[in-house]
Amino acid sequence: MDLFVAFIESALRVSIPLMFAAYGGLISERSGLANVALEGLLLMSAFAGAATVAVTQNPWLGLAAGIFAGAVGGLVFGVAAIKSRADHIVMGIAFNMLVAGLIPTICRAWFGVTGGTPQLDRSVRLTSDASFFVAAILLGAILFWALRATSWGLRLKAAGDEPSALTVQGVSAGLVRIQASVLCGAVVGLGGVNLSLCQGSGYIREMAGGRGFIALAALIFGAWKPVQAGLACLLFASADALQMLLQGKSFFDFAMPNSIVQIVPYVATLLLLALRRSTMNAPKAINRPV
């Protein structure tokens, strides 16, 4: 029973950064901007949050810095992808590469090491997992409402499905997408801050560990809809929680090698994604230039 409670608890905790990343990705993808840059955005905001706290010793400034860094990253990615009319996936991969190179470079210049920020004391971290979780659920609810009932939501969906409909109204679809990308970055930023200031004690190299891509998978699995995407995050998070639970355990005197246990969430994500063909729900003008 204790094991079950521990499993649920860790599944809920692991789902937090996934949900923020998936909701951020949802905003961006519904506007037609294909987003494989979630991983880079997570890393960037996780680093910015931890670095700010390491310097100022103030967790709230860290939270603000993480969200701000995410928004700036979203702006850079959005402008680069939309204005250049390049393939969004190429741009997203390049953005991830840029972040993967920039963080250790800046880290060495500021903290003397490339591996991460100094360890942060518990007193300067954001320790409430529960508030992050509630914030993520609330965000899902707000998105659910905003996509149906606000003019912002309608414009977002129009930019993703039929950008010319916006052009006719005199609204720039490109601008809608860039705004969406900034908002996406800010939302993903909350997930990044959760990683480095709540679940971890500072930034460590590559700490997102593919969560950006798993979140993208959850978003696709959830058919680009907020409620379903949120549930998909919980599902994929429980695969990750299972992995943590299995680590170091043995079955019938056979010790499971950790390297095999570690692949559980990725295999589960791939198989679940294959089980449900949801790609037909993709925004119609996704990854098309405007």
Partner: protein, 351 residues
């Protein structure tokens, strides 16, 4: 026209370098010093250049791999994973068949690497064709799975318990690829570099002169046309991904057969990801891929010295430069048009 395209690419590369060097100025380094470290470290001596070519060797394979898939309109970002399973397979063959003579050993190990990489990419293609899983997601998820499998073989199945490092047992001596002292000095540069060039020549020929290459470019360039010409897009996708994966599977040869003579954790070292940048910079041309791989190999080698010779920056600057180059290349249309206008105006003035 091709000449013009070359110039635009060269400008993109220069732009990437300049932006990254400006960044180093912000971080408190003298950009000229940084540039000098990069140049000296990569081409300063025959050993340094040998190392650069040694680093370029896997990049040629992964670059060709990504470029081949791109021709078919597929984005294979799983070259890292395909390289990992390919390299592990080569090591397994080498460990199990200790006494094989060199004439049998190399071809066998290379085929094992090719087939393992091809199989890994086939999985991606299968999930895409049959279950609608986008190849970007499929291949990135399988990358993580491949690290786990490699870990299993390196840390558990074939672990060398006498070594303090996490590494496998040694491969048989017949599998060792000979090093090229005349070209690379004391660097581990080995004959795999020439294998890579041979594959580049082969791929160049296939793309420009063969039916396979033609069908590939139809599939990527105009799927509707390909379909109406009687091609099965599914089969083309699977075939293209398998060749792409096989090429990436060969990328470990230089490191595992030519240098380590065993497999260590993380032996791929990101070559699969840099291969994406190499392919985009090489613009789908096999010799362009070779040139880009050599450039990035030099960058990788030169940047190692940054750890020691500078106060504030590290080898990770190479990744920043690579990323900026890719962004500049992808954003070519932005500065292509002004340049074209300028060239046109000048031509008019001359006439």
């Amino acid at each position: 026209m091709r000449f013009f395209s070359f110039y635009v690419t060269a400008i993109a590369v220069a732009l990437g370098f300049i932006l990254a060097l400006l960044l180093t100025a912000f971080l408190g380094e003298n950009p000229l010093d940084v540039a000098w470290v990069l140049i000296r470290g990569s081409v300063g001596s025959s050993t340094a250049f040998g190392y650069s070519l040694f680093y370029a060797t896997p990049l040629i394979f992964t670059g060709l791999s990504v470029a081949w898939a791109l021709k078919a309109g597929l984005f294979n970002i799983g070259a890292e994973g395909q390289m990992t399973v390919g390299g592990i397979s080569m090591a397994i063959v080498g460990i199990l068949l200790q006494d094989l003579s060199a004439w049998l050993a190399w071809p066998l190990a290379l085929s094992a690497g090719f087939m393992a990489g091809a199989f890994w990419a086939w999985l991606v293609a299968w999930f895409k064709v049959n279950r609608g899983v986008h190849e970007v997601l499929g291949s990135i998820l399988l990358n993580f799975v491949s690290y786990g499998l490699a870990g299993l073989f390196i840390l558990n199945v074939f672990r060398n318990t006498e070594s303090a490092n996490p590494e496998t047992l040694e491969i048989g001596s017949g599998f060792h690829l000979s090093t090229l002292e005349w070209l690379g000095g004391t660097s581990p540069l080995n004959i795999a570099f020439f294998f890579a060039l041979a594959f580049a020549a082969l791929i160049d020929l296939l793309i420009r002169r063969s039916k396979i290459g033609l069908h590939l470019s139809w599939t990527g360039g105009s799927p509707e046309f390909a379909r109406r010409s009687g091609l099965s897009i599914s089969k083309q996708t699977i075939g293209a991904m398998m060749i792409s994966g096989g090429l990436a599977g060969l990328a470990g040869a230089s490191v595992i057969l030519g240098y380590m003579h065993k497999a260590r954790e993380g032996f791929a070292g990101g070559a699969g990801f840099v291969g994406i940048a190499v392919a985009l910079l090489g613009r789908g041309n096999a010799w362009g891929v070779v040139a880009a791989a050599v450039l990035f190999g030099c960058l990788q080698k030169g940047s190692l010295d940054l750890d020691i010779d500078t106060e504030n920056i590290s080898r990770d600057l190479a990744v920043v430069i690579q990323a900026l180059i890719v962004i500049a290349v992808a954003a070519r249309p932005v500065f292509e048009r002004p340049i074209r206008n300028w060239v046109d105006r000048r031509n008019k003035a001359v006439n």
